[in-house]
Symmetry: C2
Subunit: 264 residues, 2 copies
């Protein structure tokens, strides 16, 4: 079905999910809306996150999207179930795909989760993991300094190395064998996280896994786009299109991108 | 929902899928039916495979299964769509999960597929891969000697090494970076396949991936078992319960198993 897949996020982080959907499902058209003006969602109260996420959802619904991806862990934790119940299209969050993949991956059933304060406080990963597998041990850690480092573009430098090492010190000697990056910004820090924790820890990137589940659900609902035209993606932001454009070009490895600034 | 998941297979090969479902979804009850008396399906005509697979399906339907997994690549290639259309429970084959996982994994879009003569001839993997991603290059190879080696229990010895090397010689210098084991028997040969092709080839085990998709679909249909009783799996075979039992105990790493011999 040649309708767009909608992706909503608190800002640019969800572009890591968009990138993976574009790579794994190159026939599909994506409409992405990043709420950059009100980013980050991580430290906000649940009610506020809920209201904002509904505004993003309503905005993309006008384009007759065939599926909605909530590419923000904080929003997924707070409001996924509610939106799933109210919409009659499939709605996919980023938490369950990461949880399922971690369970597939782990050999000792000891799984770490990194996330924003909001995501970790919600215990959404604990719930998702334990509702599937009651014997999993979960070590969660809030990483409030990670999103600012990534959003500022400094995720490759020395400061980032220091922040990663300080934040993860408590996990360094744990015996987790699998670590979920429970925030769509964190894959940009993945090389530093991997290098600090060591190669024996398998890192689960929620974006990759979500793209895979998008594919599974499209298939089961018979919603794959079967046409072979080159898809025309659209990108919307509530904030500055210049900043968004700079990051999107780099992360999506595109040569040109049109960003549409909108007001909610 | 505390109903069993049905798994059907041409013989014992699907136990590799059952094992993964038991590991990834330890709350779920499994009813497994292996058509050992008529194994293998690989060299049979499509009509025969279709008729046999419907018989297995009808047998497990009497137990009010909540989902059906066709854990045999040959049967999936021939009859998955038909059974999906006729049953009102979710029906999952082993081909699409492997295909989706390979697409997620590959970096150069060059994917190898190993399978039985029936599976390779059906081009089911080519179709599954290309319907998702039109630019994937697929190298397929029928491995008719693999199933007999595994069924005879000789998959760890020198003969197996030789068979693997001879069969895969044509793939040795290809530039695939991802290889799908398109038959549920082949994971038993995975160490030899990996060692011959080298560590730069990522091997996709359809069983692991199918278990993960079973989890995804149970979740989306709200069919997870939420009770915490220890599940009481049942195993049925059309052949000798002694042979089936020996293999099942070893592969599933159980201490005790009851196998029920049935006639279709």
């Amino acid at each position: 079905m040649n309708l767009p897949i909608g992706i909503i996020d608190s800002g640019v982080g969800g572009l890591t999910v968009a990138r993976e959907i574009m790579r794994q499902l190159p026939r599909e058209t994506i409409y992405y809306l990043g709420d950059t003006a009100r980013c980050p969602y991580g430290p906000r109260q649940a009610d506020e996150v809920k209201a904002f996420t509904w505004e993003l959802t309503r905005y993309l619904q006008q384009y007759n999207i065939k599926m909605l991806v909530i590419a923000c862990n904080t929003a997924t934790a707070v409001v996924l179930n509610e939106i799933q119940n109210e919409l009659d299209i499939p709605v996919i969050g980023v938490i369950d795909p990461g949880a399922r993949s971690a369970i597939k991956q782990t050999k000792n059933n000891k799984i770490g989760v990194l996330g924003t304060v909001g995501t970790i406080k919600s215990e959404a990963y604990d719930y998702a993991l334990r509702s599937i597998h009651q014997k999993v041990e979960v070590s969660s850690l809030a990483c409030p300094k990670f999103v600012p480092i990534v959003e500022s573009g400094e995720y490759e430098g020395q400061t980032a190395t220091k922040v990663v090492e300080e934040t993860l010190a408590g996990l360094k000697d744990s015996d987790i064998d699998t670590l979920i990056l429970g925030c769509t910004h964190y894959p940009l820090l993945q090389p530093k996280i991997q290098s600090y924790l060591g190669e024996h820890v398998e890192i689960i990137n929620s974006g990759d896994e979500t793209a895979r589940e998008v594919s599974t659900i499209l298939h089961f609902r018979n919603l794959y786009n079967k046409q072979t035209d080159i898809p025309e993606h659209r990108f919307f932001t509530t904030g500055s299109s210049t900043i968004f454009s700079r990051i999107a070009l780099k992360w999506l490895q595109l040569e040109k991108i049109d960003i549409e600034s909108i007001h909610l």
